[in-house]
């Protein structure tokens, strides 16, 4: 690896000062599961690596009246073991349980997954489905950006020099709502998504009509996508197979996948629809308060 300096600030102020020092390229380090390999192969050569894991704000993990506050550096395993998240933000747990293996989950954060901005990042469709916003701090103060507007291309996002992602915020779970993320991979575990779909659904009190839904798609375009029209056509409609098939078709119409060794573009378009149906069905089951028998890898 190239030579660099390592800093581990304990306050946000120090971190922001380090990040905005002129004439010095700096890179935040959360779990390092993307960054360390990218430095090893020489793709990134920052002069200073800023370990952000000692900053309290980036380790926040709490649900209050405003919803979920998830610090950008919280590792996946902490997210998976938090009761309030398992119950109310299930799609996040579905994502965190399949990012790499257990060793990767000990370190990998959702802030890192989002800032790496890979089209197939497994947490991003869940964050979009759960209506997450990014709290970003920088030399000019803080700003908020919805997750669906964060990524701008493969490996690219809206962060400007000197800015740091602090927290991901998600509204409180609405009554009679549920969420799910699932992906298609050729193996059972440890692979990159061919397609990934996040869904969140709110039902009325009878559990028969959809009040609102949000669908998001990964690995089928240069950035993860919010499937807006597919989401909107579900609102106000009674749950039926025909309705779910219509949403799947609407999702297929907005994807722009590539062909690669994991699958052809045509295959990805097809799988998008299949996964939209399955993700919606599982989210609906969860919204009804029923157990969903989803097991990753099956």
């Amino acid at each position: 690896m190239h030579a660099f300096d390592y800093q581990a600030p304990t306050t946000l102020r120090e971190a922001l000062e380090l990040l905005s020092k002129p004439q010095q390229s700096a890179r935040p380090l959360a779990g390092g599961t993307d960054l360390i390999d990218q430095m090893r192969v020489g793709r990134l050569t920052p002069e200073v690596v800023i370990d952000i894991k000692k900053i309290a704000e980036l380790n926040a993990l709490r649900v209050d009246s405003g919803g979920l506050h998830l610090g950008a550096a919280v590792p996946c395993y902490r997210i998976c073991s938090e009761r309030a998240i398992i119950d109310d933000y299930s799609a996040l747990v579905d994502s965190c349980r399949i990012i790499g293996g257990v060793q990767i989950q000990s370190r990998a954060s959702l802030g890192g997954n989002l800032c790496n901005s890979g089209p197939a990042g497994d947490s991003i469709p869940s964050l979009i489905a759960l209506q997450a916003t990014c709290l970003i701090a920088g030399p000019q103060g803080t700003r908020e950006v919805p997750v669906e507007s964060f990524c701008t291309g493969p490996g690219k996002n809206v962060l400007r020099t000197g800015e740091l992602l602090i927290e991901l915020r998600m509204p409180r779970r609405a009554p009679h709502s549920g969420s799910h993320y699932r992906r298609m991979i050729p193996r059972n575990e440890m692979d990159i998504a061919v397609v990934g779909v996040g869904a969140s659904v709110q039902l009325d009190a009878t559990g028969k009509t959809i009040v609102a839904a949000r669908l998001a798609l990964g690995a089928v375009a240069p950035t993860p996508l919010y499937a807006e029209s597919a989401s909107q056509l579900l609102a106000g409609q009674p749950v039926s197979d025909a309705l779910i098939a219509k949403a799947a078709q609407a999702a297929r119409e907005i994807v722009k996948p590539i062909s690669d060794m994991r699958g052809t573009a045509e295959y990805r378009v097809h799988v998008t629809g299949v996964l939209v149906q399955r993700a919606l069905q599982a989210a609906i089951v969860r919204a009804r308060g029923e157990a969903c028998d989803y097991r990753p890898g099956h």
Binding site: A3, Y6, I36, V49, G100, V102, Q103, E189, P296
Partner: protein, 167 residues
């Protein structure tokens, strides 16, 4: 720019101080500075699990940890598993079940199994396979490894049920 610094960490119960550069990974320091060569380098990109160690009780791939990040941490490596010449249940089960051939993946599998059994003392076969998915083995075909983990779990259950201390 990349000054060497002294890092102190507890490794297998002993407080250890070592000098390292920011660009050195924990795996490099364990193997090349501290001469703890049990953790293996298979891929150095996080995919094979041969370099698995426990950091503050959690399994991590030490090729994707900077040695500087180990400041103040508690690290357990394969060298800290046996007690003198007395192998622990997991090591014994791997030997008895012939759960290895070339053995390069074994330290990683054993550390990952230690983490699994600490978290979940009676895992199902499915849970074992899922937990060990980040460890690759080119030789065994995995079945013998899964059986060794089951047998180690059973041994530990038995040991904790019997009133006599086994060590």
């Amino acid at each position: 720019m990349s000054r060497k610094r002294v890092v102190s960490a507890t490794i297998n119960g002993d407080l250890v101080e070592f000098l390292c550069e920011p660009r050195q990974t924990l795996l490099e320091v364990l193997r090349n500075v501290l001469e703890l060569t049990g953790a293996k380098e298979g891929c150095s990109n996080g995919n094979c699990g041969a370099c698995t160690v426990l950091m503050n009780g959690r399994p991590v791939v030490s090729c994707l940890v900077l040695a500087m990040e180990a400041e103040g941490a508690e690290i357990r490596t394969i060298e800290g598993v046996a007690c003198g010449s007395h192998l622990d249940e997991v090591q014994q089960a791997f030997l008895q079940g012939a759960a290895l051939q070339c053995g390069i993946c074994t330290p990683g599998f054993i550390m990952q199994t230690e983490a699994l059994l600490a978290e979940n003392p009676q895992p199902s076969e499915d849970e074992i396979r899922f937990y060990l998915a980040g460890n690759l083995c080119r030789c065994t075909g995995y079945d013998k490894i899964v059986r060794a983990v089951q047998s180690a779990a059973a041994q530990r259950q038995q040991a904790s049920h019997s009133t006599q201390a086994t060590r």
